[in-house]
Amino acid sequence: MSEKAKALKNRNSSAGSILKKYSMVIALVVVFVFFTLLTEGRLILPQNLSNLLLQNAYVLVLGCGMLLCILTGGNVDLSIGSTVCLIGALATQMLANTGLPAILIIVISIAIAGVIGIAQGWLIGYVHIPPFICTLAGMFLFRGLGRVVLDSKTIPIQNQLYLDIFTRYINIPGIDTEDLKVSAIIFGVLAAIIVTAGTILGRIKKRKNGYAMENGTLAYIRVALIDALIVVYSIQLANYKGISVMLLWIIAVILIYAYITSKTAFGRTFYAVGGNEKATKLSGIDPRRVYFSAYLSMSLMAGLSGLLVAARIGSVNGDSGSSYEMDAIGSCFIGGASAYGGSGSVVGIVIGAILLGTINQGMSIYGLDNNWQYVVKGVVLLLAVVFDVVSNHKTGKS
């Protein structure tokens, strides 16, 4: 092969690998544009964009927890939908019937979720009950308990402090007006600056220490796109009610999980156990503790979702949270987590969750009924996984 042909070939293959790396992002863009056109632009109205994230808050939060379980070997937690209901029910009953301050009630609720997590984590990690069965039992158990706590009624939430903690829109007097919440834009610009600075500093450090670096143009194009996205989104939020506290909760959870999974030794253990449990054990990592941590974190996130969802809907009933586990599992797999464990990322889940959310919302705005939304969700999940398997197969073999 001549030098020129070689160079050409290299470029082609790197274009191919970029395409593969960002395939889910591209899919998201395509779906987004499609629904924007279909709904004649209504999808990108400020109110709808704001709701897109808030309505899917639970998927994002649960998806992060679910990722750790799936990483350990394709294990899932089926009980979280029921845990959402139980924790929501306990919180609303405490709010309605005890004089305890809302903050304390929130802490107690999360603690109870922690106890659930410890129990399941212990059974799965240390007693070696298969996760599927253990959490299936939990799914029945907690749903039943939730309904008992609710006495089969729908209980509304009246405590304003509680609602504020989760759903209030940030409104800074002086700079925010009725029409334009400038604080949202300030927040967005700050976030963009942090992202940009982080990238530049990271590259400076790499250069100083002589470490290998990714292609600069590529990195800066990516940062520019992310920055643009953040700013545009925050302008849209500013045109609606501004930034909801719930958005901050979501961002906090995502950042914490992204950090743990990509940057810490603790996060690494989940990937290791899913990759080869025996080798992990012989490397001095206790797999039992890894399973335990995964299911504990999962239940904590289910507890948090229970509180978030209760606050957003404003009430809790016996069917709250049903099939939430499936949304979380779906977004993990759409986001590229391996069904055998050992690979997957938080960024992937965020994209998977937003993709599912966009489809749901796009179809509701268009006026398609609920049943069809299920059909489309199923097809998308299947397509995503088939695409993933086939593309991996190709690059792996030829």
Binding site: T264, L282, G284, K397
Partner: protein, 522 residues
């Protein structure tokens, strides 16, 4: 003109970032034994995978002519229909199934209603006799040793009417007795007219069986050497493989064993994890000094791996009794983590099952056993540092890979082994237990690994080396223990030991065992 059963011409095969084969030519004479040699990552396994259709036509360029006909195999099945059968580097048997079931997996003997089990097992038995395997075909794979498993693979190949048998490092996990048996089997098949291709890093074996030897280096054919007279010089092959003369097989070392004992194991007994009444390690005591290389010799199933793993934080066995002292202090190691924290390392013989995460990168695997070293005090990993240290080990051990981000599963067998060694060198251990450390590693890299071992002991560390290759033990160790049936039957200075004295110790103990059994019985 010679009667070639196989002519592969101008084979080129690329993986993302790696040109594994570059215009390779291979000609194999009918009824001969053809050896394929080359350094780790030279492309030997890849070439055989191209031949067998594992990499289908279209994924490579070049032509394959078999029995005078141009062949285009789209899958493994296609080449098997022509009688080309490959036995892979990593055994591919299912441990929970019986020998017979494994042999006819995917090739089931069908009767009137479903599988005909009588036919299956009688056929299995027939082929097992051909390879000299005296087991019941209903025995489960997990209950027989690696040597016998290798024979099952060959019997499986025979059941497919094999005409061209390809063996990828068939003896890498066998001891010398089993290996010799397998080689003699190949010679026997040859007499019956079968052609074989064998890949191996053990040059003495190649000199013993091969009629012709093709040398690959960096994905290209270097030469084909004739060995019909069985008089080839091993140094000659090595020169072709590494491209230079390698005068010594073992680096010289100043033996400076300290008086300080770093590891002392006393009265060590271990029971089988499942059959608790079965004793696997019986009353073993041994010690290792600082700056010493201690070897463990013995046959497959002598209990060396089991001893090592049970010492390494009880990662094998049940009801373990006995005591361990590290640097004179008594310690209790109840899990691998405690063993690692006490400065111990166990480099497993089973790199795929117990050693590495094949789906992860070289970098992640390298730092796994002591990730703390590249973390700050909050457990946050410095990824750049990680890539750098991984890169250093890649350089130091000459691991062949495009980058440290390469997935382990994409490396050749020998290069995986090098990453496994890196992992435990990175763990900074004072006492390293190396279980078959040079399995599947080419001669050049072996020399490098020996040098590393010498470096380690020169720094005052201790090395326990379990190996089935006696020359390696004799060449590297200060002291050698010989194990048989879970007991230590001999301890000698390496200076005084010979292959014969080691074999004699093993045979004597076998005889004694038999005699004991008979006295008990009568």
């Amino acid at each position: 003109m010679a009667d070639n059963i196989l002519v592969m011409s101008n084979i080129t095969k690329e993986f993302p970032g790696v040109k594994a084969l570059d215009n390779v030519n291979l000609q194999v004479k009918r009824g001969s034994i053809h050896a394929l040699v080359g350094e780790n990552g030279a492309g030997k396994s890849t070439l055989m995978n191209v031949l067998s259709g594992t990499y289908p036509v279209g994924s490579y360029t070049g032509t394959i002519e078999y029995d005078g006909k141009l062949c285009e195999f789209k899958q493994l099945r296609d080449s098997e229909n022509f009688g080309i059968v490959i036995v892979h580097q990593e055994l591919a048997l299912i441990p929970e199934l019986s020998i017979g079931e494994n042999m006819f997996l995917g090739n089931e003997r069908k009767g009137f209603l479903g599988i005909d089990w009588d036919e299956t097992f009688s056929q299995a038995e027939k082929h097992m006799i051909q390879v000299g395997l005296k087991e019941s075909p209903t025995t489960l794979i997990k209950d027989i040793g690696t040597g016998k498993q290798q024979l099952v693979e060959i019997a499986k190949a025979l059941s497919k009417n094999v005409k061209l048998l390809i063996l990828d490092e068939p003896t890498s996990s066998l001891n010398e007795v089993d290996a010799k048996m397998l080689l003699d089997l190949l010679l026997e098949f040859k007499k019956q007219g079968m052609t074989s291709i064998m890949i191996s890093h053990k040059l003495n074996e190649i000199a013993y069986v091969a009629d012709e030897i093709t040398v690959l280096r960096d994905g290209a054919t270097i030469e084909t050497i004739d060995n019909t007279n069985r008089n080839i010089d091993e140094a000659r092959i090595i020169k072709g493989m590494v491209g230079r003369d390698l005068s010594d097989r073992f680096p010289s070392r100043k033996h400076s064993v300290s008086d300080e004992v770093s590891l002392q194991v006393s009265d060590w007994c271990v029971q089988h994890p499942l059959y608790r009444e079965k004793r696997i390690v019986n009353n073993v005591s041994f010690k290792v000094h600082k700056g010493e290389v201690v070897g463990f010799s013995g046959l497959q199933g002598a209990g060396r791996t089991e001893l090592a793993m049970s010492v390494f934080g009880k990662s094998y066995g049940n009801d373990i009794t006995g005591s361990i002292e590290i640097s004179g202090k008594k310690v209790h190691l109840s899990n691998p983590k405690e063993a690692i924290d006490h400065g111990m390392a166990y480099v497993t013989e089973d790199r795929k099952g117990n050693g590495l995460i094949l789906s992860d990168s070289i970098a992640i695997n390298t730092t796994m056993a002591r990730i703390k070293k590249i973390c700050n005090k909050f457990g946050v990993i410095d990824i750049d540092k990680e890539n750098n240290v991984a890169g250093e080990y890649v350089k130091k051990l000459n691991t062949k890979t495009p980058s440290v981000q390469q997935k382990l599963g994409n490396l050749s067998g020998g290069n995986q082994q090098k990453v496994l060694l890196s992992k435990w060198m990175f763990a900074d251990s004072e006492i390293l237990i190396l279980d078959e450390p040079t399995r599947g590693i080419d001669v050049g890299a072996k020399y490098e690994i020996y040098c590393i071992i010498n470096d380690l002991v020169a720094q005052g560390k201790s090395v326990v080396m379990i190996s089935s290759e006696m020359p390696e033990l004799l060449g590297m160790c200060d002291r050698i223990y010989v194990m048989n049936n879970g007991e230590i039957v001999q301890e000698s200075n390496a200076k005084d030991a010979t292959q014969e004295s080691i074999m004699k110790a093993i045979l004597d103990s076998e005889k004694k065992e038999k005699a004991d059994k008979e006295t008990v019985a009568s």
